[in-house]
């Protein structure tokens, strides 16, 4: 036994898979300790906030200010305000005005600005300029003027009694605050989803729930498969025929369709995470049963089993002592595969909207479902679905890697 465990940990594939899996598990359990918010709290008003660090503007006004004179500050400011579209528009106007095209480089912010300030005339007659476009250029120019000035801004608050604006603070262009001094900063590494929930917190909670579902489903499926396989394989005869009849029945009916039907009939209200896990477990035992049965059939005629019989042991003793340990490694591998497929089954169900209730806890599949319904992929909001995909992939990949590693350990013929 000890020898086996030593050998298992010498397998490269197993170690890598195990490492990834443990890393995921640790992250999933440690993260909530640092960010204890409920994953389904809506924190963003609006949809699909991009990943980033969100700093409370109100608090930063009140925070201690530091003056930093950075050379590139002005250029960066202007560059961030001038979008590509704006620059292209400016170029168009300038060309229409008569400036030669070669002299205009939209990448060169200061050059472009200089040309603009020197030449812009709101009244100039540019061929093909609509009124709307003309107004656009006026607005653009105004905002640019604002940019080019070096004046700061004044923060004013309304006096509750007089209703007049009173100056509260002045913010100069060279004022900086230290984020760590700002009272409210929220890091959203994965932004928010369509409801405005923190994707990362959701993801961690979802991964945990999906793993739980996977474990419960996998465990149930393996237990059923093991028991039925042992009985069918060892006892043979009528018992075997009956069990095989049911197994074949479940094979012919596509497992996933069955899952959908059962999920649907249970109804949205009663479909908690555990219920879904149980349902998945009870519909995916077929493969394990067959595999265990085949192994047991090949074992039951072995000499040590016959010798056990001749020593007067009961059927139960023989099954538990002479058959079960010999298939143990196989069963462990089957368990890993069942867990992994349980997670995938839940994801599949949830994408279709037949998974666990959407109001309690998120699952990986549910997150995918939301992303799909709210068109995240169409809108280009990759953070709503890509991390989920990667997580599912990593979990199943690490489990399959562990499985392959174990397979090599237990079946020396497969070693590279």
């Amino acid at each position: 036994m000890k020898h086996t465990i030593q050998q298992v940990f010498r397998s490269g594939k197993f170690i890598v898979g195990f490492g990834i899996f443990i890393a995921i598990l640790l992250f999933v359990f440690i993260y909530p300790l640092f960010v204890p918010d409920h994953p389904l709290t809506i924190i963003g008003q609006g949809t699909f906030f991009e990943p980033g660090i969100y700093v409370n503007v109100y608090d930063s006004i009140g925070s201690p200010k530091y003056t930093l004179n950075l050379e590139s500050a002005a250029a960066k400011r202007i560059a961030s305000k001038l979008s590509r579209d704006d620059r292209t528009a400016m170029k168009e106007w300038l060309i229409g005005y008569g400036i030669a095209e070669e002299e205009i480089d939209i990448e060169d912010t200061s050059g472009l600005l200089e040309l603009w300030t020197n030449n812009y005339n709101p009244k100039a007659n540019i061929p093909g300029l609509t009124n709307a476009k003309r107004n656009y250029y006026i607005r653009l120019n105004a905002s640019l003027q604002g940019l080019l000035s070096t004046e700061g801004v004044i923060i004013a608050a309304k006096n509750p009694q007089t209703g007049a604006l009173e100056e509260r603070a002045v913010v100069a262009q060279s004022d900086y605050v230290n984020i760590s001094r700002v009272a409210n900063v929220r890091v959203l590494p994965l932004g928010t989803d369509n409801f405005g929930r923190d994707v990362l917190t959701e993801l961690v909670a979802a991964a945990r729930v999906s793993l739980q579902i996977g474990f419960v489903a996998g465990f149930i499926a393996t237990m059923i498969g093991l028991t039925l396989g042992l009985l069918a394989g060892y006892l043979g005869g009528l018992v075997d025929d009956i069990i095989m009849f049911f197994t074949n029945l479940f094979t012919v009916i596509p497992g996933f369709v069955l899952l959908i039907l059962i999920s649907f009939s249970i109804g949205q209200e009663r479909r908690g995470a555990t219920t879904v896990a149980v349902v998945i477990g009870f519909t995916s035992w077929v493969w394990t049963t067959r595999a265990v049965r085949a192994q047991v059939i090949s074992l039951r005629n072995r000499d040590h089993v016959n010798l056990s019989k001749l020593s007067g042991h009961s059927i139960v003793y023989i099954i538990l002592n002479d058959i079960l340990p010999y298939i143990a490694s196989y069963v462990v591998m089957a368990l890993i595969l069942q867990i992994s497929s349980g997670i995938l089954a839940e994801a599949g169900l949830s994408i279709l909207g037949l998974g666990p209730k959407t109001t309690e806890r998120p699952t990986l599949g549910l997150m995918m479902n939301w992303a799909m319904i709210y068109q995240a992929h169409v809108l280009g909001k990759w953070w709503a679905y890509l991390p989920v995909l990667v997580t599912i992939a990593l979990i199943t990949f690490s489990m399959n890697l562990m499985n392959t590693g174990l397979d090599q350990v237990f079946n020396p013929a497969l070693r590279d």
């Binding site: 072995r302 000499d303 016959n306 056990s308 019989k309 001749l310 007067g312 002592n321």
Partner: protein
């Protein structure tokens, strides 16, 4: 003065059929046999002759499709697990592959302890059990102190097979079925195994039934030889009669196909 020999195991019309319809195979085809107490019998046949299937039926691990088996003159009844256990106090087996006979997850002590328990010794004090196991081991030239708490993979093939014989020593069955007990043992250790089995026969009058394809071994060790071909017994009789003066063509062919060293081995009859 010859004592009237008692028949301990016999059968009439014993048949075993596997499968149904067109895929039916008749492994054992209506065989009759009588084995006497204290006799050493060999059932000789090539692979596919049905000898292993017959052995399993004798042991009660398989049920005959037709025919009756009699134990000590009475029709054998092993319909319940309890009756089987009673039967197995009287008949045991040694198998061909010593490695496969052990549960690799259990210490070898388990094998011997199971025998003690089978003979009702479950309640005995530990010291007494150890004494019994040590005695059995010394019968087969093994030291119990050296083997206790070891796992099967720590022993050699010869040691494992001898431990199987120690098991028989503890059980003292009336009949022993030895299925190719020496085919996976080195030639030098064969004699040891055979001697031990013979000693058991001499000490307690145990009937030994060898199942083998090696006609030389059958000749050397048995009193009586049965020749099986494709499920039927084609010839049986005393070892000298069957081997030195075979009556049936099949027997003659079987013997002539084995290389000889004292006489010329005739290769032309291939």
């Amino acid at each position: 003065m010859t004592k009237e020999r008692q028949v301990c195991l016999s059968g009439t019309g014993v048949t075993k059929v596997f499968g149904l319809g067109r895929r039916k195979t008749v492994a054992v085809d209506h065989v009759d046999f009588s084995f006497y107490e204290g006799e050493v019998v060999s059932i000789v046949g090539e692979s596919g002759s049905g000898k292993t299937t017959l052995a399993k039926m004798l042991l009660g691990l398989l049920n005959p499709t037709e025919g009756e088996i009699y134990f000590q003159g009475q029709k054998r009844d092993i319909s319940t697990h309890r009756k089987k256990r009673e039967y197995w106090k009287n008949i045991q087996a040694i198998f061909q592959d010593p490695f496969a006979s052990y549960n690799i997850f259990n210490k070898i002590d388990t094998v011997l302890l199971d025998c003690i328990h089978m003979r009702g010794g479950r309640g005995l004090p530990r010291a007494k059990k150890v004494e019994m196991m040590a005695q059995a081991c010394s019968f087969v030239n093994l030291k119990f102190e050296e083997l206790t708490n070891k796992y099967p993979f720590e022993l050699s093939g010869g040691q494992m097979q001898r431990l199987m014989i120690a098991r028989i020593f503890l059980l003292m069955p009336k009949i022993l079925i030895a299925d190719e007990p020496t085919s996976m043992i080195d030639a030098c250790s064969r004699a040891t195994i055979l001697d031990m089995l013979m000693q058991l026969r001499n000490d307690i009058g145990m009937t030994i039934i060898f199942i083998t394809h090696d006609i030389g071994l059958a000749y050397y060790v048995s009193d009586t030889v049965y020749i099986m071909e494709r499920g039927k017994i084609v010839e049986h009789g005393s070892a000298d009669t069957v081997i030195l003066h075979p009556r049936e063509a099949y027997t003659r062919r079987l013997i002539s196909d084995v290389p000889k060293i004292y006489e010329e081995w005739d290769l032309s009859t291939v």
